[in-house]
Amino acid sequence: MRIVVDLTRCQGYAQCVFLAPEVFELHGEEALRYDPAVPDEQVKRVRQAVAACPVQAIVMGEGVPVDVR
């Protein structure tokens, strides 16, 4: 699974950092860094982060399949 965080919307509440610290981290006080390619064992935690985000800034989904042309 892949994620993208709408950092236009993100206000640094850091709920995702508490729920999935392997995927999300803060750089300084409120700048969010994250791993866009979610490892399988983290998917459950990231789902919780998606649900918990107070501003609903995290989008999770499959990547566009590469083979198509």
Partner: protein
């Protein structure tokens, strides 16, 4: 009529974030016809903002920033092939492999590319980079991981500043040259750019302002550079961060109003032709678009913002499948962000559309503040540093044309930290080394085919 618009052939040229979000929205809105997305790069849509941050730091692989689909747009993806021409009368797009792609409606979202170093021979030296694509990021991240002695970053815009921040975080010595008086001056104005300069110096960046690079030196391999003040520097990596160039060349013979500032379109994302006549089957979205914004005197805005690409793509897609009265205007207030040197910098509105600025909350010394920009007595922009939660409040003030300077912040009820606004010192973009990420481009395309503009 609306039934027809949900059928037919739609082609999207550009397979980055705007192209993907537009494709998804078309299906959300009930489009059942054929959908083709053309992308120059051989990769499926990926996210660029992490490239200058997590990827350069080595935390995320360059090929791992692929964007998630919100839904499968069931599109045919033509990746690795560039569009090279447009025949608007025959309604078809020419691809680099010689094929013509027919459409009923077209969305242009070709974005920008990195401006390259003007001297091709110097630019070809091993160790000279630009940063725009995941391939650029992969190569540069490899070099940074190898522990260079010094990195030279040419241009102190957002990309250049973020690269410098990564270098320092990696413990690599870095020199930044900026033609203007301070970094980020083109986006934030002279006053806040002084903060950006002090931030860089406090983190050990060798910052040279008011200086240009006159030559890159090396014999096959980059070894250093010469500056306009006569000084020289030795470095083994050089990143050219001189802003972006809009990908409009392929439209040169199309008759559309495409120029260096982008493709002009109306508030509904419909492209103008070169005579200022609006088309109804060619739409534009993302970095390559320039559009009139009601909050900024209907000046044509060109934005290089992730959030604008998403919002504009969604409006364009909606309008592509909606009959006239159901169409929506794109009038989202511009927002962008940058993280560098441990600071989260966010902006709402257009800071360069200002004559004054005041620090409304926080302070420079705390590195937490809200700077509010005004133009002729109304609020036009706000920039937060590590105070992003306040952005929405100021967005409301911008949208309602609230008076400048603003009243005290509602929650903390403290008086304005700086009582007196000072000039925002927004420079003329022509004097900047890199382009600002928001450009006010005036009412006129550069052909000057219309001359009505009220004075004052």
């Amino acid at each position: 009529m609306s039934g027809d618009l949900r059928k037919g052939r739609i082609v999207i040229v550009g397979a980055s974030v705007a192209g993907l979000r537009a494709a998804e929205t078309l299906r959300d809105e009930g489009f059942t016809g054929s959908l083709t997305v053309v992308g120059e790069e051989p990769y499926p849509p990926y996210d660029r903002p992490p490239l200058s941050k997590q990827v350069l730091l080595g935390r995320v692989a360059a090929d791992a920033t692929g964007l998630p689909m919100r839904r499968d747009p069931h599109a045919q993806w033509r990746l690795g092939v560039r569009a090279t021409g447009l025949d608007p009368l025959g309604k078809r797009v020419l691809l680099a492999d010689g094929q013509w792609l027919a459409y009923d409606r077209l969305l242009i979202a070709t974005g920008t590319r990195a401006r390259s170093w003007p001297d091709a021979e110097q630019a070809a030296l091993d160790g000279v980079f630009t940063l725009r694509t995941c391939e650029d990021a992969r190569c540069l991240a490899e070099r940074l991981a190898a522990g260079p002695c010094r990195v030279l970053v040419i241009g102190g815009g957002f990309t250049g500043s973020e690269i410098a921040s990564v270098c320092r975080e990696r413990g690599v010595e870095v020199t930044v040259t900026e033609r203007g008086a301070a970094p980020l001056v083109g986006a934030l104005g002279g006053t806040l750019s002084k903060f950006a300069a002090s931030l860089q110096r406090a983190h050990g960046v060798d910052l040279r302002c008011g200086v240009t690079v006159t030559a890159l030196r090396g014999n096959g391999r980059f070894t250093g550079a010469e500056f306009s003040d006569g000084s020289r520097i030795e470095a083994d990596v050089c990143v050219v961060a001189l802003g972006a160039v809009r990908n409009v060349e392929w439209l040169a013979d199309s008759g559309l109003a495409a120029c260096a500032q982008g493709i002009a379109c109306d508030a509904g994302c419909r492209a103008f032709d070169r005579y200022g006549i609006v088309t109804d089957d060619v739409f534009v979205a993302g970095d390559v678009a320039r559009f009139p914004h009601p909050l900024f005197d209907y000046q044509m805005l060109s934005l290089e913002h992730w959030g604008n690409a998403v919002a504009q793509a969604q409006v364009a897609a909606h309008n592509m499948v909606s009959p006239g009265p159901l169409r929506r205007p794109h009038r989202a207030v511009p927002v962008f962000w940058s993280s560098q040197f441990g600071c989260n910098i966010k902006s709402v509105g257009v800071p360069t559309f200002s004559d004054q600025v005041v620090i409304a909350q926080g302070s420079l010394s705390d590195r937490r503040l809200v700077a509010v920009y005004g133009y002729r007595g109304r609020i036009t922009a706000a920039v937060t540093i590590n105070m992003a939660k306040w952005l929405e409040h100021y967005q409301g003030l911008i949208e309602t044309a609230a008076p400048f300077p603003p009243g005290p912040g509602a929650a903390d009820a403290c008086p304005l930290v700086a009582e007196f606004p000072v000039p925002s010192n927004v420079p003329d973009p022509k004097g900047l080394f890199h382009g600002p990420t928001v450009a006010l481009t005036g009412h006129l395309p550069d052909q000057r085919l219309a001359v009505a503009r009220l004075a004052g």
